[in-house]
Symmetry: C2
Subunit: 142 residues, 2 copies
DNA sequence: CGTGATACTGATACTCGTTCTCAACGATTG
DNA sequence: CAATCGTTGAGAACGAGTATCAGTATCACG
């Protein structure tokens, strides 16, 4: 007798999760949809959006706003980490260096806020876009 | 012979700028539109969007993505600063404590990125929402 | 002034990412 | 098998932002 239907792993949801786990590039919902259609050809976009929301709400994925005006991206790496986003090709890489606790405490003290978390995105040029004049083409946006 | 028409301060643009300067709550474009209609009743929303984009591109205002999925907000305070956003009422207050240079340098070294800037948003509860159970009502979103 | 060139405006149509609605489907239980 | 209920896919709906376009204001110049 299941008191709570935690997360029924339907084929569609499994496929979405697989795509997320296999991705290392923080795809948008639209990109997840594109990729998941290989494994689940008939899947509808609404189902992908619903699956992503479900995975986020159950802690199996993170939803990222990279602050560059682009759509939200999804990340199967649910440990606390930040990102550096290339302004040219849109690539987002993981940054595993947290803000010092002292700084957070100081900001809480000064602002009166109870700080429950933060989001930090660095902007710049990725190594590829610095060297190769063309890099690998302007990927996303801008 | 004016070689470049820099920025013609039309009544509409002036009104938008006044609204921005008077605001201390980082309004969205829609909110700016609402407010500016008091001073410029016939103004169209497209004009507000155009004025905001112009102000941003000429350095008279900043466009903020607060990472909470809500629309972009605008800020007449163009000096470098970050924000703390209340998860309950949506209020965004200024934070004037930059990330230590050493941390940025370390991240640039590790990631190989050339870091040109960053965006940092703290999440939490504002003083009003901590105490007053009701605060001033759930303002924006969530 | 009048004239044309150019910038700006407001209404509206449009785009596009995301959410909603709903009928059909499928798993589960008894 | 029948009843239940969560899930699905199609498509409609939504909303922020953008593009289009005809009309208007501004300006330089004669
Ligand atoms: Zn790049
Ligand atoms: Zn990541
Ligand atoms: Zn609050
Ligand atoms: Zn600010």
């Amino acid at each position: 007798m299941p008191e709570r239907t935690e997360l029924r792993l339907t084929p569609q949801r499994g496929a979405v999760l697989e795509v997320l786990k296999a991705a290392d590039d923080h795809p948008t919902a639209a990109e997840v949809y594109e990729r998941v259609r290989v494994a689940a050809p008939g899947i509808g976009s609404a189902t992908v959006y619903r699956a992503l929301a479900l995975l986020v709400s159950t802690g199996h994925a993170l939803e990222l706003s990279l602050g560059d005006g682009t759509a939200a991206r999804y990340d199967a790496n649910t440990s606390r980490h930040d990102h550096a986003v290339c302004e040219r090709c849109g690539r987002a890489v993981d940054i595993d260096q947290p803000v010092p606790d002292g700084m957070v405490a100081e900001i809480a003290r000064r602002s009166g806020f109870t700080i429950t978390g933060y989001d930090l995105q660095f902007r710049g040029l990725c190594p590829e876009c610095q060297s190769g004049g063309a890099g690998q083409g302007p990927g996303r946006r801008q």
